[in-house]
């Protein structure tokens, strides 16, 4: 059951990414290019998504349970620390170089284009690499 509800959620999310224009790297780079020919539309994507998701969080927080009555896994960390800021900076640079963030990166695999596979291969390699970098002696 969990499998099907997650699949359904993924399909909705993926359809949203596709419809919104987030899966077009040129469009995303146009949104990030605020000092050039700025295309501000994509700001509405995040705005609309946050507005629709917020009531669900409110509901889940009040009950501490989800709609099925089962416990919810919410992030409990509050600290704004070095890794958060460094990580967000590195991610931002990668996003600015490519115009692709992880969700659209996965959606773009559907095009079977080499660039999409190289990009997502590198994302996966970076994700696998980080614990090794952390374990390495400084």
């Amino acid at each position: 059951m969990k499998f099907f509800t997650a699949l359904f959620a993924g399909v909705l999310f993926g359809a949203g990414l596709l419809l919104s224009g987030m899966t077009d790297p040129a469009n995303v780079l146009g949104f990030l290019d605020i000092f050039g020919a700025w295309r501000p539309q994509l700001a509405l994507v995040m705005g609309a998504a946050v507005c629709v998701t917020a009531p669900a969080f409110l509901y889940v927080r009040r009950r501490a349970l989800d709609a099925r009555g089962e416990p919810v896994e919410l992030p409990d960390r509050r600290r704004i620390d070095g890794p958060l800021v460094t990580g967000a900076t590195l991610f931002g640079i990668g996003w600015g170089l490519s115009g692709i963030c992880p969700g659209p990166g996965i959606v773009l695999l559907s095009t079977r284009s080499g660039v999409a596979f190289i990009f997502m291969g590198a994302v996966i390699a970076g994700m696998a690499l980080l614990p090794l970098l952390r374990r390495a002696p400084h």
Partner: protein
């Protein structure tokens, strides 16, 4: 054209023009951004309400890769679901500003950065902000800022 002078025709026309002037690209793009964003929100809310989990793509992918014990079924299902609409309707083709090395470098930064910073556009930008998390607000401002600076450097400082 029936009743081209009707009040509603004028009103819609006026608001469309106003919208187009406020946001200097086509209105279709504006409506697609709004509707697509709302759909992303419905997807996140669905995962939260029916699975009790946060729809953060980099977090889910990272846990699948590191083979975190248990719970892999729903994670893989969610990631597969993301691709389904694009397989049906097509997603265009990704055009990057550089060659394969450019794509590889960008991907590595995205992979390392999202794991170190515990989230990406979906986890921090959508779910974190919707959960009123100050950590996510900081992360979102930082990655948006870094992306804007990067695009500025690539397009306006280096090029031409």
């Amino acid at each position: 054209m029936q009743q081209s002078g009707g009040f509603w025709a004028h009103a819609t026309n006026f608001s469309a023009t106003l919208f187009a002037q406020t946001l200097p690209v086509t209105t279709t793009e504006t409506w697609r951004a709004l509707a697509g964003g709302a759909l992303i929100g419905v997807g996140s809310a669905t995962l939260l309400l029916l699975n009790g989990r946060i729809a953060g793509v980099s977090g889910i992918l990272g846990k699948v890769i590191r083979a975190t014990a248990g719970e892999q079924g729903w994670r893989i299902a969610f990631l597969l679901g993301l691709i389904v609409p694009a397989l049906i309707f097509g997603a265009g083709s990704p055009l990057l500003p550089g060659d394969w090395r450019w794509a590889a470098a960008a991907g590595l930064l995205v992979g390392i950065g999202t794991q170190l910073g515990s989230g990406c556009t979906s986890g921090h930008g959508v779910c974190g902000l919707a959960n009123l998390s100050s950590r996510s607000l900081v992360a979102t401002l930082v990655f948006m800022g870094a992306a804007v600076v990067t695009v500025f450097v690539v397009r306006h400082a280096i090029a031409t």
